[in-house]
Symmetry: C2
Subunit: 329 residues, 2 copies
């Protein structure tokens, strides 16, 4: 499912969806047992059952909703004959909610259904009710420290500190490997040529006349990219990688700009890249930077995964279709 891939970012949506699934399931169970109540009524009715007459506000606090919600639900339940509303003799503002005999009787019949729900849900909640436990911890964490504050703090740190693009240094060599290995392993496999280039960038990239750049944030290496020398006027853009946690911040674009600048500085005429149609966000970025999609992959492509071939030229003109190109797919 797509939402899972967004992890923390679409968390609310997933919780909502799961909540709806549970409500719907329990409603169906109630219906097919002829229980005569709905899942959303449960917290109010059960609370009354356990605690006896309760005011609207007390109830709202107990079940974590607004007094409006309780008031409206109470009206509905009164209409259904399950609830009783009467004025509190001690305080004219308050009104006491309580179960009617019919309401109490409905609940009493429900015991086995609840047990069945409990037992039936055990599987879904994981061993030792892991989801329940995690949910509880999460609620506690949010109560203890407001989420908004934490997020804004992180945001302030992230935006105040600037991302810098720096050229290759030997002490950063391992990051060139690690950052690229991460996405290669995630989407494809590390091919032998990858291994050679990534393990020995000095001999494979720099000495032939190429360049490597790193993106740094607060001293942390969060991205890299390489410009490979093919011939005096032909270069290849390759080994672009940004740490997953920092994707979407425009860091890839910064690295790309640095590589293109270096390509110009060295008097290149054509800059090409090979990529995969599965890496859509990256492809869009290349397009926006001026790369033009070619109708067919390059002859003698370096990599198994390559099914996309793009070219950038200083003039901005699209490179002419190559011999034998033009066929679809």
């Amino acid at each position: 499912m797509y939402l899972s891939s967004l992890t923390e970012l679409a968390f609310g949506s997933r919780l909502k969806a799961l909540s709806d699934r549970f409500y719907a399931a329990v409603d169906e169970v109630y219906r097919s047992c002829g229980a005569g109540i709905e899942s959303r009524w449960f917290p109010v009715m059960r609370f009354l059952w356990e605690h006896g007459p309760t005011t609207v506000t007390e109830m709202a606090e107990a079940i974590g909703q607004t007094h409006s919600a309780v008031s409206q639900l109470a009206n509905k339940l009164v209409r259904a004959g399950l609830l009783l509303r009467r004025d509190d003799p001690a305080d004219g503002r308050r009104c006491l909610l309580s179960l009617t005999d019919q309401g109490a009787k409905s609940l009493e019949k429900l015991g086995p259904v609840w047990v069945a729900i409990r037992q039936g849900m055990q599987d879904s909640l994981g061993p030792q009710s892991r989801l329940l436990q995690a949910l509880h911890d999460c609620e506690q964490a949010l109560d203890a420290q407001p989420l908004v504050g934490k997020i804004l703090d992180r945001h302030a740190v992230l935006t105040q500190s600037r991302v810098e693009i720096v050229p290759f240094e030997p002490r950063l060599r391992e990051y060139f490997y690690e950052l690229n290995a991460a996405w290669l392993k995630k989407y494809f496999v590390i091919e032998p040529l990858d291994e050679q280039v990534l393990r020995d960038p000095e001999h494979r990239v720099l000495e032939p006349g190429g360049a490597i750049f790193f993106a740094m944030l607060e001293g942390e290496v969060i991205g890299t990219c390489a410009l490979l020398y093919e011939s005096a006027d032909l270069f290849e853009l390759s080994k672009m990688a940004v740490n997953e946690a920092f994707q979407g911040m425009g860091i890839g674009r910064r690295l790309l700009d640095a590589a293109i600048a270096e390509f110009h500085r060295r008097g290149g005429q054509t800059l090409f890249l090979e990529s995969s149609s599965r890496l859509t966000p990256a492809l869009h970025m290349y397009e926006r930077a001026g790369f033009v999609l070619q109708p067919a992959v390059r002859d003698g492509s370096h990599y198994q995964r390559a099914d996309v071939y793009m070219i950038y030229t200083p003039t901005g003109a699209a490179a002419p279709p190559r011999k034998g190109a033009g066929r679809k797919n």
Copy 2:
């Protein structure tokens, strides 16, 4: 929070509440960053950003909502200038959604915000994103096997097999202790007198002229209760316990009825009990069975926790207030 105490039964409500908290928090973050978008727009916009133009139905499937929801949201986003709607040239029914330049630009600025959200939420999700992991497992479990079926299966088993009430047997001795220890430890503490009676029911309950009953379901011991001899016509109801998973099924009432029947059989005139005002559901059950709340606790009460004193008499008449009673609290 009350809902936590309902564990599996109010699970949907808690998920919904948590979902709303996350939506609200992220919305506030977006507002204070001047992002110009809302949290609920995120899945649609992000999907378009990653995948390019998409039809309404594709989108609905990807983000797990109805096509109506997508259609309506799309209208809103078009009005906000973030989305573009155009007819699919290949299929007149379809319509392609895509980001406007402004929409794409809004998202690109958001990179750091998303990273901040990710990092800020780490705490709330527990070590190794435990909540996220548990959520994923739960979704999988529900996909694999429909919850309704599981619950109804359990329900069928529970209702077909009858609960039986049986008298004391030595092989059940340990359950008398375990079932009572559970609620004593949960709400109060195990007092010395509890320990003596529960550990040695033969000498402390049966030999003096009392009785003990167990509730059995499918060979499993799920509840117990004791009738204690005080004098020829005075008995005490005590040590009533039902396994938490089977509460609310009327098992307490079955045990109580058995004990009252035995009380009659032995020619008792007065049956009293001591309980705590914290055990509201139990108190209601006693009332429904004919016990009458006394205005003050018994002189020389056996237990620290006792602040409720109730009496049952065969005639059903309320026992007369005792000497010194009648004062409030």
